[in-house]
Symmetry: C2
Subunit: 251 residues, 2 copies
């Protein structure tokens, strides 16, 4: 029986990404990581730190995909509103997590500072914790939504702790071959090859490198033999166009 | 009279971003560029090369924001479906643009290659062209939607050609100051400062650098005097917490 594809959406929460102050790298890391586990990221959104926008986006994505991964907005300051928004999206209250509170209390601080930090101990009722191997407060999971930090190092630690704990489907594999050709020179052949293999996604990504035009032809799908068959056809098309297939890669 | 804010959404179209094969940089470039013109990017979506998804996302964003900028999917191969999807979203047909066709015909090619290239001359009825100073085929605009290439160098050339041609609102300016403090140490003060200046957005972005914890405090808004007033309050809060405000920047 064919395994069902497991899908995910990513929500990048933070004004600093939309203003251009910060270049997001979390989406790329999440896509590659969960992709290797057999979870396919199908959509991502970048949204500001605004309650109404976050709640709507969470409720939209959690019902359309198997999993939703969020990054950003779970720190101790006034602009960290993600946890409150997740609770609002699920219509539940916030409770203090004794495990997170214990981690926060390990580092002594004056009462006002401790009070700010304890904001990070609040999780929605029904949530479970996501380990944070950097030693800081944990993230949390509620149903199919995973709420992680925005700082890449912390997000990566949290995501890594989920390995092997999520439902997974077939892993999407890839074949890549480079042709030093303009895309148009093999566009016709590629269209035919794609039609012959509807279950494999064939992408053409042009580049200009070392004073030469070329295109990377990327095949992605879950069926290794179909991938290999398509790769042979693409290589033949490159040769038919008068060039040599180069830099074949398997992923 | 207060100028109205002009808002935008960005649609990053392409399987290669969602698979993690390619790290997107177009959103960051668009946000910074149009931001400097007085257009605020309020949301971005990363979506796959699937007609139904693209059409829905285009129609959603073009009605909710003043402008929509799309990148990706306007090349000559079978997986370049953005132009078709934009026409479908607006319910109009495609026509051949004589200006784009002339540019394409400048470089001679065998008939089959030319036919593939001519795919790029198709634009929706009612669209106007977006210059492409790299010398390749143009992008296009239809109503408030701007359709640009995915290759960063080409996208940047197209976007740059729009400077001075779009409606603009007040430019969002910023003040940034660094505090070598844990966020929690000034969280309380920041919350009060934010409440005092609801028209300015105060963000706290923690980092770990040179073996020290710190946070960048970023103030964003269109009122320079309110920004300056908030900056002074934030600096005072850092001093009150026992540290020295550092690296003040104005943007």
């Amino acid at each position: 029986m064919k395994q069902r594809a497991i899908t995910a959406s990513v929500l990048i929460i933070g004004n600093e990404i939309l203003s251009g102050r910060t270049q997001d790298t979390n989406l790329n890391h999440i896509s590659l990581t969960v992709g290797s586990w057999g979870i396919q990221v199908r959509e991502a959104r970048v949204i500001p730190d605004l309650e109404e926008v976050i709640v709507t986006a969470v409720n939209d994505a959690r019902t359309r995909f198997d999993y939703l991964f969020t990054t950003g907005g779970i720190g101790p300051t006034h602009d960290d509103i993600t946890t409150d928004c997740i609770a609002a999206a699920f219509g539940v209250d916030l409770v203090e997590s004794p495990e997170i509170a214990a981690i926060i209390r390990r580092r002594p601080a004056p009462p006002a500072v401790m009070e700010a930090r304890m904001r990070m101990a609040r999780i929605p009722v029904g949530a479970t914790l996501i380990d944070n191997t950097t030693g800081g407060p944990q993230g949390f999971r509620i149903e199919n939504v995973f709420v992680m930090a925005g700082i890449p190092m912390v997000m990566q630690a949290m995501l890594g702790s989920l390995e092997g704990k999520l439902e997974s489907g077939p892993v999407v594999r890839s074949r890549t071959v480079t042709a030093y050709l303009g895309e148009s020179q093999i566009a016709g052949a590629l269209g035919v090859i794609q039609e012959n293999h509807p279950e494999i996604d064939l992408g053409s990504y042009p580049f200009f490198k070392n004073d030469r035009y070329g295109t990377s032809l990327v095949m992605r799908g879950t069926d290794e033999s179909a991938l290999n068959a398509m790769l042979e056809e693409v290589k033949a098309a490159i040769i038919a166009a008068g060039e040599t297939p180069q830099d074949v890669q398997q992923g």
